[in-house]
């Protein structure tokens, strides 16, 4: 064994002995996986919801769809998207930090991701989940506003005396 090779082993082991380098706990990696998973799920749910909501809005309001889309965008719960992006970014950052070894086919992941969003969005819209959401759920006010007022938000109308 060459002198340099002996140095590699000695150098690494001395760092371990002196606690200059420490193994990251399993929790760190578990947390990374959970955040990534949450980020992915959050992104898919939000993207799917956005996709189906746009379809719903355009279909419901016909030629005035463009105006309604603006209303939709201004009333969309963007904070949820921010959470999804934050989780995703954090998860990917953690994965980059530690999972530098396992093969990932990013092209396949992106394709599956986009397909999942489109298919899920189409299914949600087709089976009428949006209609159910208009009756209950966190976005009922926004959706009912569109339906009852021919595309004009209830909240955006001035109150009558």
């Amino acid at each position: 064994m060459s002198h340099e090779l002996e140095n590699i082993k000695d150098s690494v082991m001395s760092k371990i002995h002196e606690d200059k380098i420490k193994m990251k706990p399993k929790l760190y990696f578990i947390l990374g996986s959970i955040l990534t998973f949450l980020g992915l799920v959050g992104s898919i749910v939000m993207s799917t919801f956005l996709f189906s909501l746009i379809r719903f809005s355009v279909r419901a309001h016909g030629p005035m769809g463009e105006y309604k889309l603006n209303e939709l965008i201004s009333n969309f719960p963007w904070w949820t998207s921010l959470f999804a992006i934050l989780f995703l970014a954090l998860g990917i950052w953690l994965i980059h930090k530690y999972e530098f070894s396992y093969k990932r086919n990013y092209l396949h992941i992106i394709i599956v991701f986009i397909l999942a969003i489109i298919i899920a969005g189409w299914i949600i819209d087709t089976v009428g989940v949006n209609d159910k959401l208009s009756r209950r759920g966190p976005i009922q006010g926004m959706m009912r506003g569109y339906m009852k007022n021919g595309g004009v938000q209830i909240n955006s109308l001035p109150r009558l005396p």
């Binding site: 590699i8 082991m13 530098f100």
Partner: protein, 190 residues
């Protein structure tokens, strides 16, 4: 299968364990076992790193840094996978950082004897000069020379190369095949 080591077990027993068992041992019981892991891989990894960066001192730094990274992130390693591919991947990443830093796209190769079962080997043997082979290899872009090196020098399978370089197996085969063709052309024109 993972074997729990007892205090009575000697280092000789430990050395009989698979890489994955050793890693489990390091993680759960004995950090000292990591020295055996280093011993097992340092020669191979240094040769591999030298192929990528050409500079022996940089190669030593890369291997050392790779072992440190491997140790720090040992809990992220899945023992259901091959440790060999994992540690080679780390060295690859480290080396690529160095290559990018020093902008070396076509590395030189030292002390490498290529083994080949193809016709190209016969042509090399007929020329009977390893210098000429090196000269040919020097001119091959790293994306082709690296899988060639992993396959013939490091004796990795296509699947392992695929894991190390994070490219599909089909791409590995294509790159190795192209590397041979490029080498052949370069050697014939020189």
């Amino acid at each position: 299968m993972y074997y729990i080591l007892t205090n009575n077990k000697t280092m000789t027993d430990t050395k009989k364990l698979t890489d994955e068992d050793l890693i489990e041992e390091v993680r759960l019981n004995d950090k000292e076992v990591f020295a055996i892991v280093i011993e097992r891989y340092e020669d191979k990894l240094l040769r591999y790193a030298k192929h990528l960066v050409t500079d022996e001192h940089k190669a030593v730094d890369i291997v050392q840094e790779s072992f440190i990274k491997a140790y720090i992130n040992l809990n992220s390693f899945s023992t259901t996978k091959k440790f060999s591919s994992w540690i080679y991947r780390i060295v690859h990443n480290q080396a690529m950082n160095v290559v990018k830093k020093y902008n070396k796209e076509t590395p030189l190769l030292d002390n490498i004897d290529y083994k080949s079962d193809e016709n190209i080997e016969k042509e090399f043997e007929q020329k009977e000069t390893i210098d000429k082979v090196r000269s040919c290899l020097n001119q091959i872009p790293i994306i082709y020379s690296e899988p060639l090196n992993l396959f013939y020098v490091e004796e990795k399978s296509y699947e392992e190369i695929s894991d190390i370089l994070q490219i599909p197996i089909g791409t590995v085969a294509t790159r190795i095949s192209r590397a041979k063709i490029i080498m052949k052309k370069i050697c014939l024109t020189n």
